[in-house]
């Protein structure tokens, strides 16, 4: 655990450097061999060769998407854990994945919808609607949205939506085939256009998130205490929910439901900078991007030349590491 400002800053910079390394590895590694000079020439001196086309049209979009999605999912996970005061919470607790999946499967089954941009907006709308529904529902009543109520209402609604999805898939084998890959989560073959549609919102959400650190520190002291200190806790909660919707909803709409990043990354980061949210938020974003980039690189090699959905590789890389940390850290809380 790091305590001093200086050591935290150094580690953060080291993580960012690692992120850059991973980013370039993601561009260079894969079925088609490419070199660093090739990458530079793609920008300085484009000659339309096969390698350069792959770099420009496949690898770069993919690396950018993986980083953005990883960072967003991880930060959204962190905020969910703040909202529910539960270290096991992830955006899926708010029904993000369930809502997105349901709307996608519904539209495939009943309207035979397949265009990429429609998929993006549908899953975003599904994610947003279901989480607004959950949060609205848990805000009813005198005591407002308590952590326990958000958690329980969220889990129930999510289960309801995902069972509807399951029901549709059980009766419709064609739809199952179409959405199976999407449901496992993947950043392959998504064009930059799909990211560009949601990227502006995600960037705004990142900026706001980074500014919220000290507010969350106060909030974590307990709701009564932070109210006494003059904080508008209801407003903060609403802000956090909106951020989770934009970040996780955007990530899901681009890459499908990728699990675990939202749970694992905040836990890892908590071991580095223990519960100081001014640091946790940037760390979470960077580590999340690194994790997803690594997972995406690995997923190219498992079934080469075919691709494995990155959601699967995230779990395969992340889970053992997570278990190791859970064993090692006696202090997770």
């Amino acid at each position: 655990m790091l305590i001093h400002f200086k050591s935290r800053l150094i580690v953060l910079i080291a993580c960012i450097l690692l992120l850059v390394v991973c980013f370039f590895s993601s561009i260079l590694l894969g079925y088609t061999d490419t070199s660093f000079t090739n990458l530079i020439h793609t920008f300085t001196n484009f000659n339309g060769s096969n390698e350069q086309l792959i770099i420009q049209n496949v690898r770069i979009p993919r690396a950018i998407i993986a980083s953005v999605v990883g960072a967003s999912l991880a930060i959204a996970g962190l905020f969910m854990q703040v909202l529910t005061k539960n270290p096991l919470a992830s955006p899926s607790v708010l029904g993000i994945n369930a809502g997105a999946s349901m709307l996608i499967v519904l539209s495939i089954t009943f309207f035979n919808l397949q265009s990429v941009s429609a998929t993006i907006w549908l899953s975003f709308i599904g994610a947003a609607l279901s989480s607004l529904f959950v949060f609205g529902l848990s805000s009813l009543g005198k005591d407002g949205a308590t952590p326990l109520k958000i958690t329980l209402a969220g889990v129930s609604i999510a289960a309801m939506f995902s069972s509807i999805t399951q029901g549709l898939l059980v009766t419709n084998e064609v739809a199952l085939e179409q959405v199976l890959f999407w449901l496992a989560g993947s950043v392959q073959g998504r064009s930059l256009d799909s990211l560009v549609m949601v990227l502006p919102y995600i960037i705004v959400a990142w900026v706001i998130s980074l500014a919220l650190g000290s507010k969350i520190n106060t909030f974590m002291l307990g709701e009564d205490l932070s109210k006494a200190l003059g904080q508008n806790t209801a407003m903060l909660k609403i802000t956090l929910v909106v951020l989770v919707i934009v970040l996780a909803g955007g990530a899901v709409s681009v890459a499908g439901p990728i699990g675990l990043v939202g749970i694992i990354v905040p836990q890892i980061v908590r071991m580095i900078v223990k519960n100081d949210y001014r640091w946790m938020i940037p760390f979470t974003g960077v580590v999340g991007a690194i994790l997803l980039l690594l997972a995406d690189i690995a997923s190219r090699y498992v079934l080469m030349p075919e691709e494995t959905p990155v959601g699967i590789t995230t779990a395969v890389i992340g889970a053992p590491f997570f278990i190791y940390l859970a064993r090692k850290g006696g202090t997770i809380k």
Binding site: D143, L148, A159, S162, S163, V170, L176, G259, A326, I332
Partner: protein, 350 residues
Amino acid sequence: MNMIKVRNRFFSYLLNKRSLIVLLITFILLFSTFLISLTLGDRYISIPKVLSVLLGEGRKIDELFIQAFRMPRIVIAMLAGLSLAIAGAILQGLVRNPLASPDILGITGGAGAAVVLFLAIFSDDRTNQLTVSIKWLPLAAFIGAIVSLIFVYGLAYKNGELRPLRLVLVGVGFSALAQAITSFFMIVGPIFRASEANMWLTGSVYGANWEQVKILLLWTIVFILLALLFIRNLNTQQLGDDVSTSLGVQVEKNRLILLFISTALVAGAVSFAGAIGFVGLIAPHIARKLVGASYGVLIPLSGMIGAVMVLIADTIGRTVFLPIQIPAGVFTAVIGAPYFIYLLFKTGKR
């Protein structure tokens, strides 16, 4: 307060009148659901006829329908609901986290991965048929459950103790891994296999037979009795490790035993009924809303609520959309969630 005390060396129950009434109502609900479920199907059999079959005096044809087709399935559904809900109640008590459920320990996930592996290994890609009998599927699921149990416990065990939070975190990691394996094999294999696996993963009690009923019944009874013996400690564990220890409870030992009981219950249920989700999570919450947190009442009540949930879900699944059969797992959440949310806001506090 109208309290009824039942106490001796092994048991200690404190029942108040309200809890007793709730227990009774739930039991009546369970029994009537059971009867109604027996009447429904391809062929409607009226309640008097069902009762006469149960008493051994029915017509041959009714007897065939009820004894051979409906009864085993209904019993399996009830037992599975019962086991999952009780396991969930115990886990939530031990871990002191409302998100704890049988799924989170990785047992269900492990069983699911084993089922997908089983389907992948023993199916012939040319004929799209299984090379061994499907009746071995429960065994595969059970082995998967036990193997993951050993893994999760082994990894969570450290310095001679098993901390609940560590167990849950390891469980979360392990389930994610199992889930990844499951999706991987579903994606690389042919679609019919994915479809079959998906059916199991949703949780269904198709093709239940008396042989399965016997095994599961014995298994469930043994572990539920054990659970009832040990729950008094669960009440104390709510207060935290330190308090329990100072009250003279052997926290560590009891926790291990209770965890073992709940995983055994889950393993039995998922082997025969598939990965029916949500029951283990929500039935205990519903029970807690109705009677509060004394485990002497909570455990049996959660169990009955779980049984009702799965039974209704399966009955809807096999009757409403005839001739299509929909797995019970699809409807458990659709039935359970709205009622739970209603309770969540009716009671307001706690």
